[in-house]
Amino acid sequence: MLDKELRSMIGQVKDGRMDRRAFIQRLAAVGLTAPLANQILALGGVAMAEGVSTYKPTKRGGGGALKLLWWQGPTLLNPHFATGTKDQDGSRLFYEPLACWDPDGNMKLVLAAEIPSIQNGGLAADGKSVTWKLKPGVKWHDGKPFTADDVVFNWEYSKDPATSAVTIATYRDIVVEKVDDLTVRILFNKPTPFWADAFVGAPNSIIPKHLFADYKGAKSREAPNNLSPVGTGPYKFLEFKPGDIVRGELNPDYHMPNRPYFDTLEMKGGGDAVSAARAVIQTGEYDFGYNIQVEDDVLLRLEKGGKGKAIYAVGGDTEFIALNFTDPNTEVDGERSSMKTKHPLFSDPAVRKALALLVDREAVKKVIYGRAGRTTANFLNGPEKFVSKNTSWEFSIEKASKMLDDAGWKPGADGIREKDGKKLKLLYQTSINGPRQKTQAIVKQACQKAGIDVELKSVVASVFFSSDAGNPDIYPKFYADMEMFQIPMSQPDPSQHMRRYMSANVATKENKWQGQNFPRYVNKEYDEAILAAEGEMDPVKRAAFYIKANDILIADTVFIPVQHRLKVEAAANNLVCVISGWANETDNLFDWYREA
């Protein structure tokens, strides 16, 4: 039904009977995000919407200095080596991708001349290739022209394992060919509904061939330009001290009219989030501070100073509690949480469902996340088009208790429920982080009331998120019953996010815990939904598969979604900054300006 309706809606947009915005809203209502809705239109024969720029200044420059405060400063400026978003943010000041994402998830052109669509021949109907036309006349900061060779080079550079680029996953399975000096074609080995990954967004910014060609492969780390970028962006590189400061100045040859607004640019690193919020919101020493993970009452108090404000961007980041489907306390062949075991308590679905009833998401929002969170019943919370409307959540200690009673878990002498000699005692771990410890306390309290004993554990983030297979506390090993964190969603498409939990990807000793399915969830139905989605070119059907996959995860209580988290930034009151929940903070920097 959804499919038929969508077809007719696409038809309406095509003939102009329905406007694009209404279409996106309709799709959002059935749970599809804006970027996806746009891609649906593109595949349905209507060109993808170009993000509308709100940029007002009518001349280049004259805006003075823009002072950015990144409390974790960039430590290197090559997007292919970015170990974290901070490095992508810093690189993006100077380097540019073909296109970026605006706050609504629409594509905005940067180095590309037009958005590929079926009409303009950019998209192949079978979804196996996409052709990008490049903007003519773009120059690197050193005056050399930007051409298709540069784009092709980035693919060759990244896919070479010896380069050890972190972008390798984007490029290793595609083929990029030069059609002419200003046209490149990307060939996929299978139908690819989400074609806007390679060369799109800050992580996939393009570096110049003429400066990096000699440093491809094993010599990559010797490239002098790893620390002194020569890009195509609105600001030219001046100075970089890792972790401390990045400085740039206006690029007089920038390829977008009247941009950039600011004459100089400074990105200062170091310190902590609270004092960064203070420097922007309260004292106004800086214009913009990124990733202000600070309690809402602190922000509200700082905002009374009146020099700046907190701003929010909606993306798809979900804070969740994952349940372990294997037994963390039994060792089989030197491996705990082995696939050969079953979780003694969670193998009863009633226990999992009861736990979901015991997470008071409203309280977590009210007490901890404030304006930076939304309650949710879904694991997949964005883009809008992929968000399920079939799920719901509630917090009820009575219902949870009754559910456990009915399943035969009766309170023992110590008030803790037990069945067949097994006590409902759970170990609940997460990384050390203020909001997470508070959430743990809220959940523990509710569980206690329902007769479940919860032991809390918190691990230093640098260990918890480590890939060090020798450490027992890393999250993929999951030597606990429940664990809580979030996996950032770095592009407006759920494919990477959802395929992690396919049966083939379970984390085991054999794959050195590199399998991404850490709850060790095995469900054929889920696998089928994901495989179907990945081969589906029809955007509506594809979205339906992902919604189904989400619903399976929720119905089976693989994850208990705790909060849909928004990005929080601090900005001066007079700064007009464009921030997208689907992109890095600096991705739309060319559109930033100051209001008088």
């Binding site: 080596f81 390798i168 004092s275 060090d468």
Partner: protein, 319 residues
């Protein structure tokens, strides 16, 4: 003299080797991974992090890694930062000026306060001035720098709005304005560190002075009819300064330690904040290098203290 210095330097080598071994083993055994941020990024397959670990030799046994580090160090190669992908020595040299500027100024401030106050308090023990100086000194060294730092920020930046609390390593001004800005932004961190140092030093100067001031030769000097100023400066201070010099020299590494916290609070791009961010990102080569530099400083300042001894008190012969 030069023979003595040379011998001391040679003795320092085995102790530095021992220190480096301990540091290396502790860091290698510490949990954490420089590529942890990659682990939660769904865009990056786990093989990439594993390949990076292999490339930077993180999977080798500890003794091999230590020998690699040692032989590289012997060649003047300080190692390579995992996180910045640049040479560690370049990274440290970039950060050193800010640290030296702040710590140097703080130390000078501390001496400028401690010596006059300590000396004057000792000449009039248990006077009102002495009492006040004592109380302030106790307050000064009981308050940790992270507390006074935040207090200063709240008073002078947030409430009064006089001083900036984000230190900028390159000020966009020239000439006299540049100098003024450099001074302005350093006032708070230097005051925080300097006052902390001055507090304990004042107490020390005072007691060293009191020890000397009652000795017979001082009475003799007075009996000769020398003025109070001359007696204090020429006769008492010179002798009282001997233990003070040792204290200052031995405290230098502790000052660097205090600077780590202060640098973090005021965002001073010095080696202290480099150390903190490297520890947080598990960038072991940088942590190793910075801690090793600190170890070298301890050894060096011990040596300087001993040499200064000989200069201040010719009776102590260095052989």
């Amino acid at each position: 003299m030069s023979q003595y210095v040379l011998r001391r330097l040679l003795i320092a080598i085995p102790s530095l080797l021992g220190i480096s071994l301990v540091l290396f083993v502790v860091l290698a055994l510490a949990p954490g991974d420089p590529f942890s941020e990659l682990a939660t990024n769904p865009n990056v397959p786990p093989e990439v992090a594993a390949a990076l670990r292999a490339k930077f030799g993180l999977d080798d046994p500890i003794y091999l890694r230590y020998l690699h580090w040692l032989s590289a160090m012997a060649h003047g190669d300080w190692g390579f930062s995992f996180v910045s992908r640049m040479n560690v020595d370049a990274l440290i040299l970039q950060r050193l000026p800010a640290t030296l500027y702040v710590i140097g100024s703080a130390q000078i401030l501390a001496l400028l306060i401690a010596i006059p106050v300590g000396v004057y308090a000792a000449t009039k023990p248990y006077s009102l001035f002495d009492q006040i100086a004592n109380v302030l000194a106790f307050v000064g060294f009981s308050l940790p720098t992270f507390f006074t730092g935040i207090l200063f920020i709240l008073i002078f930046s947030v409430t009064l709005d006089w001083l900036p609390f984000v230190y900028s390593s390159d000020i966009k001004a020239t000439g006299i304005r540049w100098v003024l800005e450099m001074i302005r932004q350093a006032i708070m961190p230097v005051a925080v560190l300097g006052l902390f140092q001055a507090a304990s030093m004042t107490r020390f100067v005072r007691s060293a002075m009191l020890d000397v001031i009652r000795l017979d030769y001082v009475t003799t000097a007075r009996a000769k009819g020398l003025g109070q100023a001359k007696v204090i400066v020429k006769h008492v201070m010179r002798n009282a300064m001997i233990p003070v010099v040792t204290l200052i020299a031995l405290q230098m590494p502790a000052v660097f330690g205090g600077a780590i916290v202060t640098e973090q609070i005021f965002r001073i791009p010095g080696i202290g904040s480099l150390l903190i961010s490297s520890i947080l990102s598990n960038d072991t080569p940088v942590v190793m290098a910075v801690t090793f530099v600190f170890a070298c400083l301890v050894v060096l300042f011990n040596l300087i203290a001993d040499v200064l001894y000989g200069w201040l008190d010719p009776r102590i012969s260095l052989r």
